[in-house]
Subunit: 220 residues, 2 copies
DNA sequence: CGAATCCTGTCAGCAAGCTGACGGGTATGT
DNA sequence: ACATACCCGTCAGCTTGCTGACAGGATTCG
């Protein structure tokens, strides 16, 4: 999952950024709204964490603007404890959820997961694909009750497919989803990860559509 | 569809064989039961057309034997008009249908199609896959009401996938299904036909599972 | 703290698959 | 009967993808 963090408090920003990275999501962190606008135009984000008070304006204006432009990316607003009006206004402006500073990072994870699940159109974290049992919340895969151990990258890649069954994802799309700006990969890294995933899950779980991308196999 | 024809009458056998070939199915024609046994052990048939009176025995014995061995291939028995007991015995022994000689060849086609549909577990000839509308009886494919013209070979290949959604078919399996003994192909003919089919249907209708085979794409 | 292990991205060689082109045989039309 | 068009299998060169190996950095363990 790719996240845009808009937060000018450097200590909080760094903590949140690090936590997101440790959760094996990718994150771009900006401290101003103009940068957020630019980033949002350049990449597809799965989630935006949006502070309300920023040096060049209010998060609420940014949120209204992006909603008016038809952008449906889920937004969690970050508000001060005593700013209840920010929360109400934010939710009314189209935010999906809010968190009040200071917040516990495990609370952040829970919120991230909840929004991601809603966004993927699949609120139920338990998925079966062929003979695989997948828990999107616990980030586990098993076959016949036997767990299959996936690394963070492998999980992130697999999750991308599971959240979009049947949809072909190009290598560029996968790269954008798995890597933040400045962390793009060169060479054939996506192919390598797909190969590693296949080694663990079996060669018919993910299909290649040559010249286009990859998708979940048609396991019926 | 690959058919085993067991018929010692050379005129009838030739007429039936030619009709089957003209219908773009493949057929192996034998005149004796021992040859039929050998063929059945060597290849997977979709249907057997079985005469009752053969030089080396009765078709009914062959049918009983193959059913006892657990072979589920559909069988249409070919009987003389006045041999009603053959018909009853044949059906009781596990035949799927019967035809009485002499029969009209278009009647044979209808029977072939009916059995093939039942065998594929999909008695309904109308199938939708992604945005394709397929009529298995009329052997037509259309997209948005616009027909897509397939040649006989292309249709045979496509039909194989449609009848087994989600199942990976290896090149060998496809070859066995599309070509009779003595008509096997060399070189990369299956790949070429898949490529041609993709050119007409789109590149994401059939997925390649590298090193294993092909199957219908996961169009959801 | 050092050693061992693991994860991840890169590299590069290989290979399975893809596709344009061609020729022979068949079917169709005049 | 001849010309044309089409189908189909083969060929071969190209291409995209796959994967083993490696090295560097991060993590884990004693």
């Amino acid at each position: 999952m790719r996240i845009l963090l808009v937060e000018d408090d450097s200590i909080l920003g760094a903590a949140v950024r690090d936590h997101i990275v440790a959760s094996s999501h990718s994150v771009d962190w900006v401290t101003r709204l103009d940068a957020a606008t630019t980033y949002l135009e350049s990449a597809a984000y799965d989630l935006i964490l949006l502070d309300m008070m920023l040096p060049d304006g209010r998060g609420i204006s940014f949120l209204r603007s992006m909603r008016m432009k038809g952008c449906a990316t889920p937004v969690i607003i970050l508000t001060a404890l005593d700013q209840i009006s920010d929360r109400i206004q934010g939710l009314n402006a189209g935010a999906d959820d809010y968190m009040t500073k200071p917040f516990d990072l495990s609370e952040l994870s829970a919120r991230l997961n909840a929004v991601a699940r809603r966004y993927s159109g699949n609120p139920n974290p338990l998925v079966e694909i062929g003979d695989l049992q997948i828990d999107l919340a616990a980030r586990t895969v098993a076959r016949g009750g036997r767990p299959i151990d996936l690394t963070a990258r492998e999980w992130a890649l697999f999750e991308a497919f599971v959240q979009r069954p049947g949809q072909i994802m190009s290598k560029v799309q996968l790269e954008e989803r798995l890597y933040a700006f400045g962390a793009e990969v060169e060479s054939n890294t996506i192919e390598v990860h797909v190969s590693r995933l296949r080694k663990k899950l079996g060669h018919s779980v993910i299909d290649t559509v040559r010249g286009i991308g990859y998708r979940l196999g048609n396991a019926r």
